[in-house]
Amino acid sequence: MNEFLQQLINGLSLGAVYALIALGYTMVYGVLRFINFAHGDVFMVGAFSGMYLSRWLKPLLAHWPEWLFAVVVLAGSMAFCGVLGIVIERLAYKPLRERPRLTVLITAIGVSLLLEYSGQLLFGAAPRGFPSLIESRSLSGLGELHATNIQAFVLTATALLLGGLHLIVMRTRMGLAMRALSLNPTAAMLMGVNTNVVISFTFGLGSALAAAGAIFYASLYQAIEPFMGVLPGMKAFVAAVLGGVGSLPGAMVGGLILGVVETLVVGYSKVLGIPPGYRDAVAFVILILILLFKPSGLFGKQQREKV
């Protein structure tokens, strides 16, 4: 039983990171109806910017409390990636807004490859250690179970970010504009919504969330490399589809479910009769099953394509 609970903790902390990346996918999809393939690579840039930022700031802010320093690095990386997301959208996606979806998809793959290989050129292919922003400590009072303060922090922060995001989408004018755009772009434009600003804002916010996910991921797993975003990016996409693309709580739940399922498959591979080497296939099998049987996901709305 203890082992099961432990696996649950492992799965939830992994799932929280998937959830954060999935939120970015879902937001962009909700507004633009397009999957930003490069999202996982923005995540990678987030991790590297966090590493450089913390190295650069460490001597300057040596006397600051640990948590404040961590928050500064987090905010810095989020801002950097937010701007990067806006720039990518302006340069690569905006000129294609009226073009077929396939064209945009290929461009997104291009952006993804560009970030990966430029990353390899700049940072090298070998994994780098990520500086620990917060000293990892074991939480006490869990008996036989083990969790670190970082795991707890990641789960809490993910929940808080989700809440904040929900407020932005539901309670602000910008959120209203986002929802309007997602419902009917032409009508929204006619009603005076500035499409360009809303789309930029969405991309910026989504990319900032990816950066937050990256800082958490790197703090949990402590090694970063230029291709680190590929697999988490794809899995976060699966999480987004599982929860229902376009739905914020869906992305969160989808991420957590995926993290837990993956962990349980590996942890109980003997019992289940699945070799643990199949871990990376699990996500794709889930994706295919969902798309076959419930394409709208757990929380998504059924949509019909209109002519």
């Binding site: 432990q6 992994l14 090298g124 994994p127 250690g129 083990h146 797993y221 591979s269 643990p276 871990r279």
Partner: protein, 357 residues
């Protein structure tokens, strides 16, 4: 090629992963090989001719090794080929060399299948079965009988090492209490480690590369697993300590040589390498160096660079004093030599013992 060139130099080919995923290994072995060729030439070359090293980058990608090796053979007219570190790429090159009658010496491919390709294919390192045995013997000597194994299923090297380790351990009084696996590039090993923890092992074998082993150690400590970790020569990189930090302290791994070994051959090599590249050589560099030195020795003994004669001279290599130990090439064209066990202590790799074949 101009005839005058052909008279004055001996062209030796080298293929290595100078870029891509395993660039760090390729660059290391290349540095060692290049230094050896420089030394040979400074001492007057071989057979009165200078040795010229032509290196090609296979980008760490499958399929590319076959292409660059064909290029070296047909365009550069090499007399022998040195490389690769990764067994998967040596396995692409070996049939081509065998067919062309060009002797090939791999510095560090430990998969037994590499030299099974044919009688023109040699290596200067030990092979996975031996390394698996060394690790198993070491674990048993420490009275670590209950072993958990964590294998990287994406790496042929790791799969082989685990397999041979298990084969030796299970017939010599040990038990494998848990077998888990992952794929290179994974960052999360908690699920596997939690399952391992439940089986209370004395030691954990992490048979993959340093890229993941440091992380495995970190996460094992986070789950309060106290069992030490052991691994193979794939651990040999400063990156293991950079990523693993305190968590890898007290872990052991087998390697081809130790920089702490006072043997004059090793200490001179260290100094020369340091003077040339301003860094500490790792095992790949030492093996790259040895591969070129053994080739030069064989060319001298053969008195010619003709493929079949050179092959026979290589096969007759006996008690050659190399940096990584005394090398005798056995009838299977593998190097019979000892391995060393190293311990990670204070962020450094400390020599523990030498294990003879």
């Amino acid at each position: 090629m101009a005839p005058s060139e052909a008279v004055t130099e001996i062209v030796v080919g080298e293929f290595a992963s100078l870029s891509g995923a395993t660039a760090s290994f390729g660059q290391s072995s290349h540095k060692g090989t290049a230094m050896a060729v420089d030394e040979i030439n400074a001492a007057g070359g071989v057979l009165g001719k200078k040795m010229r090293l032509v290196s090609e980058d296979d980008q760490s990608k499958p399929g590319e090794a076959a292409t660059v090796v064909r290029k070296l053979i047909s365009r550069e007219r090499i007399v022998a080929l040195l490389g690769e570190v990764a067994s998967s790429r040596s396995l692409e090159a070996a049939p081509i060399c065998q067919q062309a009658g060009i002797p090939m010496i791999s510095p560090a491919s430990t998969n037994p299948k590499v030299t099974e390709v044919g009688d023109f294919v040699f290596r200067v390192c030990f092979i996975d079965p031996f390394q698996g045995t060394v690790l198993s013997k070491f674990a048993l000597s420490k009275n670590w009988k209950r072993v958990a194994i964590l294998t990287d299923v994406k790496q042929d090297y790791s799969v082989g090492l685990s397999q041979f380790f298990k084969a030796h351990l299970s017939v010599n009084g040990g038990t494998v209490v848990s077998e888990q696996s992952y794929s290179s590039g994974d960052k999360d090993f908690k699920a596997q480690l939690t399952a391992i923890k439940g089986t209370t092992p004395d030691v954990i074998l992490a048979s993959g590369y340093y890229t993941e082993s440091g992380l495995i150690a970190l996460q094992a400590r986070e789950l309060q697993i106290a069992a030490p970790l052991i691994g193979g020569d794939g651990w040999d990189s400063p990156s293991l300590v950079e990523v693993g930090g305190k968590a890898v302290e007290g872990s052991f791994f087998s390697n081809h040589f130790s920089v702490e070994d006072p043997a004059p051959a090793i200490q001179t090599f260290l100094k020369k390498f340091n003077d040339k590249y301003h860094e500490q050589p790792d095992a790949m560099a030492a093996l790259g160096y040895d591969s070129a030195m053994i080739l030069a020795d064989a060319i001298k003994r053969a008195g010619t660079t003709e493929g079949p004669k050179l092959r026979d001279a290589l096969a007759a290599t006996k008690d050659f004093s190399a940096v990584t130990g005394k090398i005798t090439l056995n009838p299977q064209r593998n190097a019979d030599k000892s391995a060393v066990m190293l311990e990670v202590r204070n962020g450094q790799f400390k020599y523990v013992e030498t294990v003879a074949p």
